[in-house]
């Protein structure tokens, strides 16, 4: 027997009452995401814009503006993607599928490189491998008598290495997750047929994780294509341009339309690969989470290769995590890059200006710009995190409430759009829309507001995802069972919804915060000289050759990120405490 539903509102009213917030959300997402992208397209369709298209694609300048950067970008994208699949695939196999010693620790260490911003790795590379070609002090190796050839110090090779070292841990995470879903049963069923190990690997294991390989490949490729920091720090000094550095350069020198054209092309390049990979694994071949209970995984005994492969795994993790951080810390303390571990001084941190060291520049904590940048960075991180999470929660709520309707579909598609846009191109779109006065609105270019808007919009996909998982934790029956006890809405909110949601929300907010603190490619176009953020100051120092200062600031950024991550982890642990 079913109870008659109590006072169900007439269908029509319900419909409009529900539609209103959805429409409001679409309006917000429209302004934050769609409008800038539309505007940047329109900006390139004006007479000036069409000229820019021609200059970029079909003029004597186009090899410099478009073709060579494109070639470099593609080499980087494909090279990084291949390298990441190789390294990430190998490490994932080692950690998940074999009996290598120290697997747990290895697993944790190989996820770390992605936490370290790519400009940190690039700076560390410079500190070690810089040669005298660009003037200024040379790096650790050259100062100690090793001749570093140009190709190893600058240009495409170091950028490739730095980006692979950064992005392979993303591939590791994705492939590792897929490998651990290959249940022991699948492998044993193949063993029962009498197939040998190579045949099982190529016939069963590899095809099952192919979708993961494809998405790892395309995500690392998109990341490398969009990356700004590494090519800017290691490529620009030898005029190696990628699409993102070219786009940055064009907007810097006031050729905004050409910059916009390049931004659209960059979006197209990364979009093509993401689209292709999506095609490749969609439909009936998307079988990642099919069959079986997974659980147990079959570990292959490595035999006599156990210890050599263990050493290799730890060596790799050390080179991509411990070494860069160590180099940055040592360099921020050592007066000479040639002697990273002697005569340590706190000058670059606390020293007064006017002395012998560093052409009389004061330590970073004596620099009012830096203090301002520190405050700005924290302010930016916190503001963006809060706004993103509120937006994300509201969006996720609207999407789940209107599940199945066209509105919800449009909304979730739009909210995930920024994921496909390289952040520097996204920043360019914001300049296109808000860079000039817009009706009654003044120009927002260089303001904190613009930065916050762009950052919140760009983090929307993560925020919506976090919001969804938070809402997922609060199943409606939890709230309903509280309602049956007679608790009023405020009390339910306080006693049930809030405790369940707060930790998930905080964890999501901290993720966004960390992403903002270490971001360079979004802020590099949108920051203003008067109120910079830390990553921007570090970039400026590095561009002017003050490596120690740049490294010191980078260490500061790492410390902030680490502290935030530890807080997030502590929160996560508390979540799991009552989950278990």
């Amino acid at each position: 027997m079913s109870l008659p539903s109590t006072a169900a509102p007439p269908g029509r009213r319900l419909f409009t009452a529900r539609r209103l917030p959805a429409l409001l959300m679409i309006l917000i997402v429209g302004i934050l995401v769609v409008a800038p992208l539309l505007r940047i397209v329109l900006a390139t369709l004006t007479p000036g814009g069409l000229e820019a298209w021609q200059a970029v694609l079909a003029s004597p300048m186009s090899p410099n503006l478009w073709w060579r950067p494109l070639l470099n970008t593609l080499i980087l994208g494909i090279g990084v993607s291949a390298g990441c699949l190789l390294l990430g695939g190998f490490t994932a196999w080692l950690v998940v599928m074999t009996d290598v010693p120290g697997r747990r620790l290895l697993g944790v260490m190989h996820t770390l490189p992605f936490m370290i911003p790519s400009f940190a790795a690039a700076l560390a590379w410079g500190t070690l491998f810089r040669n005298s070609r660009m003037g200024g002090s040379s790096g650790f190796f050259e100062s100690n008598g090793f001749l570093i050839p140009d190709w190893l110090a600058w240009g495409i090779v170091p950028v490739l290495i730095v980006l692979i070292a950064h992005y392979y841990s993303l591939a590791f995470t994705i492939i590792g997750a897929a490998l651990s879903s290959v249940g022991a049963d699948l492998v044993e069923a193949a063993q029962m047929t009498g197939a040998r190990r190579p045949r099982i690997f190529f016939g069963i294991v590899l095809p099952v994780v192919t979708p993961a390989l494809v998405s790892a490949g395309s995500l690392t490729l998109a990341g490398a294509v969009a990356n700004f920091a590494a090519p800017a720090l290691l490529g620009l000094p030898v005029r190696m341009q990628t699409l993102s550095t070219r786009l940055f350069g064009m907007i810097e020198i006031g050729q905004a339309e050409r910059g916009f054209v390049l931004a659209l092309l960059l979006i197209a390049v990364s979009g093509v690969f993401l689209f292709l990979s999506d095609r490749l694994v969609s439909g009936r071949r998307a079988f990642v989470t099919v069959t079986g209970k997974g659980g147990r995984t079959r570990r292959f005994p490595l035999g006599k290769w156990r210890w050599p492969l263990c050493a290799l795994g730890f060596g790799l993790a050390g080179l991509t995590t411990v070494v860069p951080v160590l180099v940055l810390v040592a360099s921020s303390l050592a007066p000479q890059t040639g002697a990273l571990f002697s005569n340590w001084t706190l000058h670059f941190w606390l020293g007064e200006g006017g002395g012998q060291i560093a052409q009389g520049t004061a330590g970073i904590f004596r620099n009012p710009v830096l203090i301002g940048a520190l405050v700005n960075t924290l302010k930016l991180g916190v503001t963006v995190a809060l706004i993103s999470m509120v937006l994300g929660l509201a969006l996720a709520h609207t999407i789940t409430r209107n599940k199945g309707t066209v509105l919800a579909n449009v909304l979730s598609q739009l909210a995930f759009l920024p994921l496909l846009i390289p952040s520097i191109a996204f920043a360019a779109a914001y300049i296109a829309l808000f860079g000039a006065p817009l009706g009654p609105l003044p120009s927002l270019y260089g303001t904190f507001t613009l930065l916050v808007m762009a950052a919140a919009a760009h983090n929307l996909p993560y925020a919506v995802q976090a919001g969804r998982s938070v809402l997922g934790q609060i199943a409606t029956d939890l709230e309903e069972s509280a309602r049956l006890t007679g608790a009023g809405p405020l009390r339910r909110m306080w006693a049930i919804v809030f405790p369940l949601a707060i930790r998930g929300l905080l964890a999501g907010a901290i993720l966004v915060f960390v992403k903002m603190v270490r971001d360079l490619s979004l802020v590099v176009l949108l920051f203003s000289a008067t109120s910079p953020v830390l990553s921007m100051v570090a970039y400026r120092y590095a561009a002017e050759g003050f490596m120690q200062f740049a490294n010191a600031i980078t260490v500061l950024i790492l410390v902030i990120c680490l502290a935030a991550s530890l807080i997030a982890q502590a929160l996560q642990a508390r979540v799991q405490k009552w989950k278990e």
Partner: protein
């Protein structure tokens, strides 16, 4: 403990098999053998070592001691590990999770083992069609595992195992993921397939009904030992231990602890049977089948005071469950009677025992009469 007739022509012969995981001994010492074409069911509660035994038969795990021989040939031994790799064993395993390869179609799943075995394309295609027909799933040929239902996945898993014509078929709780109706259907399906292929089968389950209906031989396992081995009818008629007696049968039989008092064996002060049955022991366990217990007093028969708990219809009769004794260690008793008793849960009822106990067990569990 089963006695092992050591004939060379046994399809499966297991001798003094031992399996240890670190300090834990899963199987202390196990021997048994079945003739070709047998349907051996390993039944027991979870953790009794039946799946461990099956994995050793499949060659997925090495024994720590003892030996397994198929058709007179040693395939695993504690001394040499897995002597014969899966290919040479000529055995197939149906997994509880089905373990279908998600990236291959149904036909691909069935054909891959044949490809590994080196069959040519034409023979493969013919064999795929043949087993698809045998399992009645020809229409699913080009679907992916994710696109078919659980029952269909189960059929594909069986078809894949049958395809290379293994001499020995191993099943690891293959029906436990199906709903009740489908399970009964697949049960008779599996028996039909067993008759059609003639392969010696080993079937692991914790469901004693499956064991009793499908098996030609049953091995009841507990704590890594075979408590009793034989045809299902014999196990039911003459359980060798209290474990077997209470594990098999629907409903399970009743065990009443009894003390010798003078010339009688007494339970809770009620004289049940002559003391001679105890063969000199002071305390024994008396085994009564459910159909030996009735409700309401009857002249000259022992009566137990009990508390009614539930009744359920069963094949035209009624199964009544009642508890006797103190709440702490109450004894659950099952009776089969003709009509629903006029009682509500918690009411006191009289249980009447008719006839002599069906079996007498020592307090340590082994049968003495």
């Amino acid at each position: 403990m089963a006695s092992a007739p050591t004939e060379a022509k046994d399809a499966i012969r297991i001798t003094h098999l031992v399996k240890r995981f670190g300090d834990f001994t899963a199987i202390p010492d196990l021997s048994l053998s079945v003739p070709p074409g047998a349907f051996l069911v390993l039944v027991g509660p979870s953790g009794c070592g039946k799946s461990t035994l099956l994995r050793m038969l499949a060659g997925l795990d090495d024994p720590s001691g003892g030996e397994i021989a198929f058709m007179g040939q040693t395939v695993s031994s504690g001394a040499g590990g897995v002597v014969a790799d899966p290919k040479k064993r000529n055995a197939g395993l149906v997994f509880q999770s089905y373990a279908l390869w998600p990236h291959m179609t149904v036909a691909g799943n069935i054909g891959w083992p044949l490809k590994v075995a080196g069959w040519d394309r034409q023979a493969r295609e013919a064999r795929i069609d043949e087993v698809l027909g045998l399992l009645g799933i020809a229409a699913l040929r080009d679907r992916y595992p994710a696109e078919i239902s659980g029952g269909q996945q189960q059929r594909v898993a069986i078809a894949r195992t049958l395809a290379p014509k293994p001499a020995i078929l191993l099943f690891d709780e293959p029906l436990s993921n199906l709903d009740a109706k489908l399970r009964i259907e697949m049960r008779s399906e599996l028996m039909r397939i067993h008759r059609a292929t003639g392969a010696t089968s080993v079937y692991v389950t914790h469901d004693q009904v499956e064991a009793m209906t499908m098996a030609s031989h049953v091995a009841v396992m507990n704590h890594g030992r075979v408590e009793q081995f034989g045809p299902p009818r014999e196990l039911l008629a003459r359980p060798a231990t209290t474990f077997v007696a209470t594990f098999l049968g629907t409903p399970p039989g009743n065990l009443l602890p009894a003390q010798r008092r003078g010339d009688w064996l007494e339970h809770a002060g009620v004289a049940l049977a002559p003391a001679a049955l105890a063969q000199g022991r002071d305390a024994v366990q008396l085994f009564y089948r459910a159909e030996q217990i009735g409700i309401g007093p009857a002249a000259g028969r022992p009566v137990l005071k009990a508390e009614f708990s539930e009744s359920a219809p069963m094949a035209g009769k009624v199964m009544v469950t009642a508890t006797a004794g103190a709440a702490g260690d109450a004894l659950r008793l099952s009776a089969i009677v003709d009509d629903f008793p006029d009682a509500r849960p918690g009411d006191a009822i009289d249980l009447t025992l008719s006839g002599a106990p069906d079996a007498v067990f020592a307090m340590t569990g082994e049968r003495i009469e």
